[in-house]
Amino acid sequence: MPAQNPIAAPDWLGSLPSLSAGSLNLGGAESLLILALFLAWVVYTAVAAYHWVAYGGYTHRGVPALAVHIVLSVGFFLYAVGGIH
């Protein structure tokens, strides 16, 4: 029976993306997940914009609110994507 190092990390651990440093290499599944999240965000933003604009009277507040939403969302998204190699 071959000798085993009892404190050696399992092999599969090496295949996980690093969570502490460096950058994340995306596989197909992760790319699809990011794309799905982005599409969900686009649909959500369209629905929210429709409500702000269609139920009017709110337009003078709706436009700045949507602008803030888009700027912050894009900021968070770019921050997240910045971790991808």
Binding site: S20, L37, W41, A48, G57, A65, L72, G82
Partner: protein
């Protein structure tokens, strides 16, 4: 415009929403949750999130922000619109459920305001309930800012409506 049509000669007197402090209170846990992973990763690793952690933290913040924006949107979509002849109650608990009910001011029998608790007294919000004659319905809105002034406004509109009706009846010789 608000999802309903105004009658001819009808004018919007006031749009009432819940007090902004109640919205702020609801957003507070979201803000803490938004910042939590960034603060945790930074405090444990001594550096800003990088790589996979940065992706997860970024997407987490995006999801939290979407939730917060939904709360703000629904806050603005829920309102009481007081016009010169009726009160329109717009309720939108979710994006795809919108209820609009209205009742005529000449049916208003009683308007009650309740300010309950230290926080409500300090900030200045309360519950406004309007009872209508005949239908036995009671329309209620919680968290109304300055409920007494809204009650006074409704009563003033009711008085004007009755006064106008009495004057025209008098002019017609009834």
């Amino acid at each position: 415009m608000h999802g309903f049509e105004l009658e001819q000669g009808e004018q919007i007197t006031m749009v009432v929403r819940r007090h902004w402090a109640l919205l702020a209170l609801r957003l507070l846990p979201d803000i803490l949750l938004l910042a939590a992973p960034f603060v945790l990763v930074t405090s444990f690793t001594g550096a800003a999130p990088a790589g996979g952690a940065r992706v997860i933290v970024g997407l987490w913040m995006l999801c939290l922000w979407v939730m917060m924006f939904s709360r703000v949107t629904l806050y603005y979509l829920n309102a009481w619109v007081i016009t010169s002849s009726r009160i329109i109650d717009i309720r939108q608990p979710t994006f795809f459920r919108r209820e609009i009910s209205s009742f005529l001011l000449d049916r208003v029998q009683d308007v009650t305001t309740t300010v309950d608790g230290l926080f409500a007294t300090w900030i200045g919000f309360g519950t406004l309930s309007v009872e209508t004659a005949g239908m036995g319905d009671k329309f209620m809105m919680t968290g109304v800012p300055s409920p007494a002034s809204v009650r006074d406004l409704i009563m003033r509109e009711v008085t004007e409506l009755h006064g106008g009706a009495a004057a025209s009846a008098h002019a017609d010789g009834v």
